[in-house]
């Protein structure tokens, strides 16, 4: 029973995640919503990927711009393994395909890590970016391993399941993703509590001091990079099972950037930040991209706002409230928040309107699309919508600056009280 008490968060999450797709269950046809399941599977895979990225960025302070290389190479390995199993050359249960991806990712993590972990900080960032470009270019060039532009296709129905599951439906795949996501997340969580995990923190904080307590920072970085490759590879293996194809865009800079954006927006400090960030980024990516050409712009702006005003990410913002909650006065923030809400909404709507107007005059027009809100087509060449958008943006910004002052006073007073009560360390 103590096991349940200690791990109730994980168990609760598991139950919620298993139940959630049923909200979208089509009872008349008796089947799940394929879109929701694929979306959630994607979130699961990207969450593992983001967590593995956080092993570098959050834990070891290594800012990689080529992390997708490990995801993609793991995916290619898994795809080849699946095809070998299909051909009868080797035997492997479907459930263990992600492990094959993981081992592939680990292998490349070690080889590439041997090159890149000689450096840290800025040089590390530049070199991982170069390496990412190298692998993406190679992926288009070499047919044998990467399959060129067409990529490598697989058929995930292999009849080798340990549980007799065929993996013909998205639901079965989703369950597999969920299982691996939990295993990987738990392993990564445990890894933070091992000597290597702690020393990785130490080299992040002060790599020179780590040397003077007996550790070689380069080896720490290399091992951390290799392990991170293992988990990224697991994500890659799952990716292959979901989409049944792996192409060069799994190793691309855009995928690497996704991990970076997710981890930073969510918060690199804690363990749950990257998961939260992944959910936000994937939802923006899949949801907003249906409506707008500019989803990456919104993610980029969100990212910059986070870098400038909330370096702790979303999780950091939430945790800032903990001291006030502890002294039981969170309620006093309700009014200030309520007052800041309308101008914030105004700025946001003004900004979105402006971006969409711009996007529809150029890209949308080129694609023959019309800008419509609730069925009303808006003429993007008329001055009125532009003026409204601009006015909302400017007035909202001025208004929010006024509100911000009051909010800040209230906030500072509450934090001050919390400090006096010894809640804030």
């Amino acid at each position: 029973m103590s096991l349940v008490r200690r791990h109730w968060v994980w168990l609760l999450a598991l139950v919620v995640l298993l139940a959630f797709p049923f909200l979208f269950f089509d009872w008349s046809k008796g089947r799940h919503s394929g879109f929701v399941l694929t979306l959630m599977s994607e979130i699961g895979v990207m969450a593992i990927f983001a967590l593995s990225y956080n092993m570098l960025m959050g834990q070891a302070g290594l800012l990689s711009f080529g992390h997708a290389v490990l995801l993609g190479l793991g995916a290619y390995c898994a795809a080849h393994v699946v095809n070998l199993v299909k051909a009868g050359t080797i035997w492997l249960p479907t459930e263990l395909v992600p492990l094959a991806g993981g081992l592939g990712g680990m292998f490349f993590g070690f080889v590439l890590g041997w090159l890149v972990t000689r450096q840290r900080a800025t040089a590390f960032a530049m070199i991982t970016m170069g390496l990412g470009e190298l692998v993406s270019a190679a992926a288009l060039m070499f047919m044998g391993f990467f399959g060129g532009e067409g990529g490598i296709s697989i058929d995930r129905v292999m009849d080798t399941s340990l549980f007799g599951v065929a993996y013909t439906s998205p639901w079965q795949v989703y369950c597999l993703v969920l299982a691996w996501a939990f295993i990987a997340a738990m392993l990564m969580r445990l890894q933070t509590q091992t000597p290597l995990g702690r020393i990785a923190n130490a080299t992040r904080d002060n790599f020179e001091r780590a040397q003077f307590v007996g550790y070689d920072p380069r080896i720490v970085r290399l091992l951390q990079f290799t392990l991170s490759g293992f988990f990224a590879g697991i994500a890659g293996g799952l990716y292959v099972l979901i989409y049944e194809i792996v192409t060069f865009d799994t190793v691309s800079a855009a995928k690497s950037a996704n991990a970076l954006l997710a981890v930073y927006i969510g918060g690199a400090g804690g363990f749950f930040g990257p998961i939260l960030g992944t959910i936000v980024v994937v939802l923006l990516q899949s949801g907003v991209s249906l409506l707008s050409n500019a989803w990456l712009l919104y993610v980029g702006v969100l990212f910059i706002v986070m870098v400038m005003y909330a370096p702790g990410g979303l999780i950091g913002l939430i945790f800032m409230h903990v001291p006030i909650w502890r002294i039981g006065r969170l309620r006093e923030l309700l009014l200030p928040y309520a007052r800041a809400f309308p101008p914030a909404l105004m700025v946001m709507l003004g900004f979105v309107l402006l971006v969409e107007l711009l996007s529809f005059t150029t890209i949308g027009a080129a694609q023959g699309k019309k800008f419509a809100i609730g069925g009303n087509v808006i003429d993007t060449t008329a001055p009125l919508p532009w003026l409204i958008a601009l006015a909302a943006l400017v007035l909202g910004a001025l208004w929010i600056r006024r509100e911000a002052r009051g909010f800040r006073e209230r906030w500072d007073a509450l934090i001050e009280d919390a400090k006096r009560q010894g809640v804030v360390s």
């Binding site: 445990l190 890894q191 509590q193 091992t194 000597p195 290597l196 995990g197 702690r198 020393i199 923190n201 130490a202 992040r204 904080d205 002060n206 020179e208 001091r209 780590a210 040397q211 003077f212 307590v213 007996g214 550790y215 070689d216 080896i219 720490v220 091992l223 392990l227 360390s425």
Partner: protein, 250 residues
């Protein structure tokens, strides 16, 4: 007859054209508490950086426990049983005080780069870390991020990380710099107790600390040793007085 704990022979160090260390010979027997004093810019910290492997020597040899440290990285010298502290506090600011100490312990307890031990279950390790925290009087700060400690507490933690690994040779770089009188007294007691039965080499400006702790004192001026003797002899040494007080003895 065992080899001295630390032995320097004709060590020099130049940065560009400036020679900071100009031929230093120094031998520190095991178990001695040894202080290095000298005016600012004499090269004391540089000497520490050479011994601990932070910089390579320009010429000459350094041996730790009879073994040459030429070409060894700092971590390898550390594993020979030599540990150092820094003049400018060097801790792991985002980790808790307890984690800081535990990181200092890990290598010496044989965990190496393990990613298969869970630290929560390593009772012996954690008890050792907690015991050291008590000795440092940082027990009530255990779970605070080290970056939030007061200056004196950070200095104590710095010493704690340095000695955690149980090194036989301890190098302390101005351990009491910037402390108030009462803090200095506490630090001296701490240093005395942690260096019990070990070789201590320290750089210090506070003469009461130096004369209270050291068995032997070396005076370094412009990269050269002008005297190395027991405290009483140093006190009466004319060359030392000249270097320190600027009076012309002759």
């Amino acid at each position: 007859m065992s080899a001295p704990a630390v032995e320097l022979k004709a060590v020099t160090k130049s940065f560009g054209r400036t020679e900071i260390i100009r031929g230093v010979d120094l031998s520190i027997p095991r178990g001695e508490r040894h202080a290095i004093i000298g005016p600012n810019g004499a090269g004391k910290t540089t000497l520490f950086n050479l011994i601990s492997g932070r910089f390579p020597v320009s010429s000459g040899t350094i041996a730790v426990n009879g073994r040459s440290t030429a070409g060894l990285a700092p971590q390898e010298i550390n594993r020979l049983g030599l540990s150092r502290s820094f003049q400018i506090t060097s801790i792991f600011p985002r980790m808790t005080v307890f984690e800081n100490i535990r990181c200092g312990l890990l290598w010496s307890q044989g965990y190496r780069y393990s990613f298969w031990h869970l630290l929560g279950g390593q009772k012996k390790l954690n008890d050792a870390a907690d015991a050291l925290l008590e000795r440092l009087k940082l027990g009530d700060r255990r779970n605070l991020p080290a970056g939030l400690l007061s200056y004196a507490e950070q200095r104590a933690l710095e010493i704690g990380i340095t000695i955690a690994g149980g090194a036989e040779i301890i190098l302390l770089d101005e351990p009491t710099a910037g402390m108030s009188n009462s803090e200095t007294d506490a630090a001296v007691e701490l240093i005395r107790s942690v260096s019990e039965g070990k070789t201590l080499l320290m750089v210090e400006h506070d003469m009461s600390v130096v004369f209270g702790l050291a068995d032997r004192i070396t005076v370094l001026v412009y990269g050269e040793v002008i005297a190395s003797d027991v405290p009483a002899a140093i006190r009466g040494n004319a060359a030392v007085q000249e270097a320190y007080l600027g009076t012309v003895a002759a």
